[in-house]
Symmetry: none
Subunit: 129 residues, 4 copies
């Protein structure tokens, strides 16, 4: 379902948050759709349940998902309104753009990469429909 990379320095719970938000924004996870339970997901990914728990709690406090006690966790409707989400993405993008330009990546290549991302999004959507 979700894949995470144990190596690479990026905290597992952040990768989890990231992939859930991505899928929700892409519509692969639909509003009010139920997420796997903490225990099920931790078993599937081979990570500590605390790690999944931490991701879910963070997502809930950010309004991306909501929990019904005893029933599970669900994707929030109205996801696109997430306050500050766009601003945060813009900041991070600026950092990356600086590095990329200094590394000699041309603007044309950047546009090309953006197109590739959109293509990937489309195929991911269709792949799960």
């Amino acid at each position: 379902m979700f894949t995470v990379n144990l190596q690479g320095g990026v905290p597992i719970y952040e990768q989890l948050k990231r992939v859930i938000v991505e899928n929700a924004l892409l519509g692969i996870l639909e509003p009010d759709e139920q997420l796997p339970s903490v225990r099920a997901l931790s078993r599937e990914l081979g990570v500590n349940p605390n790690t999944v728990q931490k991701a879910y709690q963070a997502l809930e406090s950010e309004g991306v998902i909501y929990s019904l006690s005893g029933k599970g966790s669900f994707i929030s409707p109205r996801l696109e309104l997430l306050p500050g989400f766009r601003r945060a993405a813009e900041e991070k993008l600026k950092e990356s753009l600086k590095e990329a330009l200094l590394a000699g990546i041309e603007k044309e290549r950047i546009i090309e990469m953006a197109d590739e991302c959109e293509t990937e999004f489309k195929s991911r959507k269709n792949g799960l429909k």
Copy 2:
């Protein structure tokens, strides 16, 4: 000379590395130019000498700077080769692009931001001439 943000989670030594690499790539720091001494820079930034040392040693092991014992640290000539630097920047950029596109940032805005970065680079170069 170099500014770092003591807050914000990003390790000080990584910020230092980053700003030095940036300035070297921009040509603000010229090949074979001497960097401030570990002690001087640590005093100026208000951080521990070991923190600056760590940044310098990491940069040396990456080939960005070189040290002459008893004399000081200097910017490496032949900086543009840096193997893997471009690839790493490209990967990070792709991640950021994905997030940005999902957050609703338009491609035109991305191009605009890239232009802003280039403008900033130019002004930084001229500012120190």
Copy 3:
């Protein structure tokens, strides 16, 4: 487990790096085998944890080991590739050969010493099996 010489000018962290690389190349430390924790090893060797940490981080940046945050440090698989490792060894060997020949050590003796090294390797491998 690992022995280091606190005296003798050679930095402790370098000795540690050396013995770990040796053991990994000999197969005494197997791929993905977990290393002792920084704290445990520092206690065992009677050195400061930072010193062990420095060795581990250097090894990680060289691709000899990898760290999983919160879990520990492990020997990298794909160790044999180590770019430049062979070249560095060859250079250092040439230096030593020059000195040895000038000091009057005969070529037969050199071959003999190489054989001794191989014998030592074999006994070390078997000693830990």
Copy 4:
């Protein structure tokens, strides 16, 4: 006359010692031949006079050279007798051999390198005759 490498971590005064001993053992510097003065050599190499001084003093205390106050420094006769020199070279060689074998350098290659060293010695001797 002598060349030293400012980079590479190896202390300059040790490189100086090394090259002088090498040339003396090869006969390029003949017994009782006068060495350049500290000031002349430091100027020629572009290094600090203290560095040359340190090398000369170390060589004198090891019996490789001798000084006549006010006249200069000279190569000692009977150089080959240097106590412990052979043993030190042997130890260092053993270290290098271990590394080389672990790095995958074959014994044939080692012999080949030894031959190369001898060839180099011969050409250096003839070059200065």
